[in-house]
């Protein structure tokens, strides 16, 4: 990005910041980019940038991990998962600990690798931990469809794919929420379209913008939001990421999601049940549903002293957690926000800004 333009935008934003303005982003990549640019050190202290529930690992409920571990114990399945998930603890320990005890836990980088894995290990039942947001849903759907077409019988999916609008509803319905403007996740919007986020202005009178991930995208987004707030245009909404985001999104990806999944009630770590906030396999693909095929008992939840819930809801910043960087760090993480490299606490730790 042109340094001059950056300086101009920052200056403009700071001039407008005569009162406290809180802006939330809900995508791990935005969280990371803001920290990586050292943006907070450039913006006036009155501009507060908050991170919401944008990390797929952080929002995954403890019981989900326990369920996976139970499946290994009871049915001796192979668990295939994205890397970061392996370290997150449920109440019964983490998958890494299970792996250490000789259980078959494998890390994959793309769901499509599962097809090969299933074909090469016909004698093993493989359960894939399908987590993520609207962004990972199409490729998981494609994997399941491919498995069905090829008649693969030993691949199953334990889904916990989260949807953005319901959790945003949840946050913005809290009377205490202090979100003044919202940077909408560009990746989710690429799939679902910018219209997917229009409700923020309409229902909650909070200006919102779909933003990309370059320095200029983010600065232009913040500039836009601060300006709308100052001018009291509370229902303003804009797609500032037109290079990739269409108003209706990607039709092929959405068709895949529609073919394979159905919307149901989701459970978010530290937050609990949120209606219509998750994607489950639909009836046509029920035979791939690990929950149904490998039934296990559900454990109840113990509470921890981690403040991840408040981090995920944007009520607090990582630095406001008393464990941050003291008892809780990436080598000895306390909560999922520090374990996952996409978590707000891990990012805040990695790109510390105070000098």
């Amino acid at each position: 990005m042109d340094k001059g333009l950056a300086r101009y935008l920052i200056n403009e934003i700071n001039l407008m910041a005569t009162e406290e303005i809180k802006i939330m982003e809900v995508c791990g990549t935005h969280t990371q980019m803001i920290s990586k640019l050292g943006l907070r050190s450039l913006l006036a202290p009155k501009i507060k940038l908050l991170s919401g529930p944008g990390c797929p690992v952080c929002v995954t409920d403890e019981r989900y991990i326990d369920r996976a571990i139970e499946m290994i114990k009871k049915y001796d399945v192979t668990i295939a998962t994205f890397g970061d998930m392996i370290r997150v603890g449920g109440m019964e320990g983490s998958l890494l600990e299970a792996k250490g005890k000789g259980r078959d836990v494998r890390i994959i980088y793309s769901p499509l690798d599962l097809i090969k894995m299933a074909e090469e290990n016909r004698d093993r039942n493989i359960v894939f931990l399908g987590i993520g947001f609207e962004t990972t849903a199409p490729v998981i759907a494609l994997t399941i469809k491919t498995a069905a077409e090829r008649g693969i019988e030993n691949l199953f999916c334990l889904t916990a794919i989260k949807l953005m609008p319901p959790i945003l509803d949840y946050i913005l319905k809290q009377p205490s929420h202090n979100v003044g403007g919202l940077i909408c996740p560009g990746h989710v919007a690429t799939i679902k379209g910018s219209d997917y986020f229009r409700f923020i202005g309409v229902d909650y009178c909070i200006p919102a913008a779909v933003c990309g991930f370059e320095a200029s995208d983010i600065l232009i987004g913040i500039h836009y939001l601060v300006k709308q707030i100052r001018q009291n245009k509370k229902a303003a909404f804009k797609n500032l990421y037109r290079r990739y985001v269409r108003s209706q999104g990607n039709p092929i990806a959405n068709q895949l999601i529609e073919d394979v999944f159905k919307v149901s009630c989701g459970v978010w770590r530290g937050i609990g049940r949120v209606e219509n906030s998750t994607l489950d396999l639909n009836e046509k693909y029920a035979r791939f549903d690990a929950k149904q095929v490998f039934a296990v008992e559900e454990k109840s939840i113990k509470s921890t002293s981690c403040e991840c819930k408040d981090i995920l809801l944007g009520n607090r910043t990582p630095k406001e957690c008393k464990l941050f960087a003291q008892l809780c760090n990436p080598v000895k993480p306390y909560g999922p926000c520090m374990i996952s490299s996409e978590g707000a606490c891990a990012i805040a730790y990695r790109y510390r800004e105070e000098i």
């Binding site: 990005m1 340094k3 950056a6 300086r7 920052i10 995508c27 791990g28 990549t29 990371q32 920290s35 990586k36 640019l37 050292g38 943006l39 907070r40 050190s41 450039l42 797929p56 690992v57 994205f82 890397g83 970061d84 980088y109 793309s110 987590i131 993520g132 947001f133 962004t135 990972t136 990746h187 320095a215 600065l219 760090n329 990436p330 080598v331 490299s341 996409e342 990695r350 790109y351 510390r352 800004e353 105070e354 000098i355």
Partner: protein
């Protein structure tokens, strides 16, 4: 000869001999090695010697821009080079998994031999072990090296205002490995920077009295190496993001995977700490093959607090660059 390595090749008898002769002697070819018994004997001039060892367990064994063999030779040569030493002799110990393809072993040995010839060093002693299938992952190599310390070089105290030079683009090795491991196909030029640095050190020998420190940013990358230097010098380091040389391909692969190039290994780069008048040294470095992109990337500051590395980002923001903690994994979303 058979197609794969089996346990017989490691029993010390006829087959071991065959393996050593037809693969290692053939490619490492030098009198000291071939004539040696249990130890090689050589003469040295008077002066200071440098001695180092390193083990190599890289996966995949062959990657764009190199292979485990080239890496094992360059790695040890570079460790000697950072001590200002001209490398003389190397040792090479290989541990091979039963079932390893002989043709691949030969390819790796050939690459070691070639790298040695290019840099003017010889492998004069070695050892081969074959272990049961499943007990290691393919092939491990250990190399040790002896070199003679040249001219005036010795590490000197670093002062406020001293400059930091990196001799080329960062993170190329780490990114090449990551792109192979996570199967990202890259169009354009993405290769490991794996190369020996002894020629570079020879070239800048005349400036040794002004070079305060040399370090190769291997595991943990530039960030980790600079943190060690800051700790050692008890000074802060002010880096300028826009000055750090990085190839476009490297940047995009890292963006795609969600990795941080500043923490990824270089295998053919050197960090030099020099005094403020470093332009002539920089020019000299740039004349060296593979160092065309060398740049001054920052300087030492006395920030009064604890020694740390901080970066001025290209839009003017500031953030702390810590050492690598934990493992870096690709992003999910």
């Amino acid at each position: 000869m058979e197609q794969i390595v089996n346990l017989r090749h490691g029993d010390g008898g006829k087959y071991t001999n065959l393996l050593i002769r037809e693969i290692f002697y053939k490619h490492f070819d030098n009198k000291l090695l071939v004539n040696s018994q249990d130890a090689s004997v050589f003469e040295v001039k008077q002066g200071k010697l440098a001695f180092t060892t390193d083990s190599f367990v890289v996966k995949p064994l062959i990657f764009p821009g190199g292979d485990i063999g080239k890496l094992a030779v360059c790695g040890t040569i570079n460790d000697l080079a950072t001590a200002g030493a001209k490398p003389l002799y190397l040792s090479c110990g290989v541990i091979i998994e039963e079932g390893f393809e002989l043709s691949l072993l030969e390819k790796i040995a050939e690459s070691m031999g070639e790298t040695c010839r290019k840099t003017g060093v010889s492998i004069i002693t070695g050892d081969t072990k074959v272990v049961e299938k499943g007990s290691i992952d393919g092939l491990y190599i250990n190399t040790s090296g002896i070199g003679v310390v040249q001219g005036e070089y010795c590490p000197k105290p670093v002062c406020e205002g001293d400059r930091i030079i990196i001799t080329g683009g960062i993170a190329e090795h780490g990114t090449a490995i990551a792109s192979e491991r996570y199967q990202i196909e890259v169009q354009g030029d993405l290769q490991s920077d794996c190369m020996s640095l002894n020629k570079l050190v020879e070239r800048i020998e005349k400036y040794m009295d002004r070079i305060k420190l040399m370090k190769d940013p291997t595991r943990g990358g530039l960030a980790t190496a600079l943190n060690e230097i800051a700790e050692l010098s008890r000074l802060g380091i002010h880096l300028l993001e826009e000055c750090i040389p990085i190839k476009k391909e490297v940047e995009s692969v890292n963006q795609l995977l969600g990795l941080e190039p500043i923490y990824l290994a270089c295998e053919g780069r050197m960090i030099l700490v020099v005094d403020e008048e470093c332009e002539t040294i920089l020019e000299e470095i740039r004349q060296c093959d593979g160092c065309e992109d060398a740049a001054i990337i920052g300087s030492f500051v006395n920030n009064g607090i604890r020694p740390m590395v901080f970066m001025e980002t290209y839009i003017g923001g500031r953030r702390i660059i810590g050492s690598l903690e934990g493992e870096m994994l690709p992003r999910i979303c």
